[in-house]
């Protein structure tokens, strides 16, 4: 089998994983299970990034998203002891929501497929992007957004502390 086929196989496996896990996140009846399924979806996305030669992004995804954000979510859930178990967490607008989501999906897919028809990702050309080039990109072309994001993070940090403080 050619490398191309292998990539296709890997893509389909992880696409199924992401979709399945995503669907379970929004339908499962247990909040902790939902968070754990989100881990599955995120890991699948990380695998996608590896497939797309964005290794650095993939590991940042694992480190920050899975290692920190989801842990924080689980931590918060267990700490507050808010209802976790098999209670009904959905409201009564499920059909409407499904309809809405389906509409969004259909419309965007049609537009996207139409717009990017025939465009290929050429894996042969890509020798993988080195981490160094990402660093260079961040600190040259994108240094302003980087600073803005830093300030945003700082603000969020302060904000979270202020909100959650007991006084």
């Amino acid at each position: 089998m050619s490398a191309e086929t292998w990539q296709q196989v890997v893509f389909w496996i992880f696409a199924l994983l992401i979709t399945g896990a995503g669907v379970l996140v929004v339908t499962t009846r247990n909040v902790i299970h939902a968070a754990l399924w989100l881990v599955g979806a995120l890991m699948g996305a990380a695998a996608m990034y590896v497939l797309l030669f964005a290794e650095f992004v993939a590991w940042v995804q694992v480190l920050v998203y899975v290692g920190a954000i989801v842990v924080l979510m689980l931590f918060g859930l267990m700490l507050t002891r808010a209802p976790i178990g098999s209670a009904e967490f959905d409201n009564n607008q499920r059909p409407l929501a499904a309809l809405c989501a389906a509409a969004v999906f259909v419309v965007t897919s049609v537009i996207l497929i139409g717009a990017f028809e025939g465009q290929e990702i050429n894996f042969a050309r890509t020798a993988g992007t080195s981490t160094e080039s990402i660093g260079t990109a961040i600190f040259s072309s994108y240094v302003w957004p980087f600073e803005v994001v830093s300030i945003l993070l700082l603000a969020a940090l302060v904000g979270a502390v202020v909100i959650a403080r007991r006084d």
Binding site: M48, Y49, S109
Partner: protein, 101 residues
């Protein structure tokens, strides 16, 4: 590999996220759904970045920024949820119709 594979996957994930945001009552579950949507965006960005290699690494860099923003969002979001829970003993978004407490 056609780029539209990734785009459709991303659109699908985004729609799942939309469904979750609309249909869920539990605040944390809504946050989780938002994470799904952000990830859909990331897949898009990275796929475009791979497609347009000559144009630089903007896609990947922005994916990193999105992750950073997601971290900030979860931090503040979770703090709010905990605060609401502490004051109202509930994280049901449909019950939070008061603008003050």
């Amino acid at each position: 590999m056609p780029v539209s594979f990734f785009l459709v996957l991303s659109a699908l994930l985004f729609s799942i996220g939309i469904y979750g945001v609309l249909a869920r009552q539990h605040a944390v579950l809504v946050l989780l759904s938002i994470e799904l949507m952000l990830n859909a965006v990331n897949i898009n960005l990275v796929a475009f970045s791979a497609m347009l290699q000559e144009a630089g690494l903007g896609g990947q860099v922005f994916a990193l920024f999105v992750i950073a923003v997601a971290a900030a969002e979860v931090g503040v979001g979770l703090a709010i949820v905990i605060l609401i829970y502490r004051n109202r003993q509930s994280v049901d978004l449909d019950e939070l119709d008061l603008m003050k407490w």
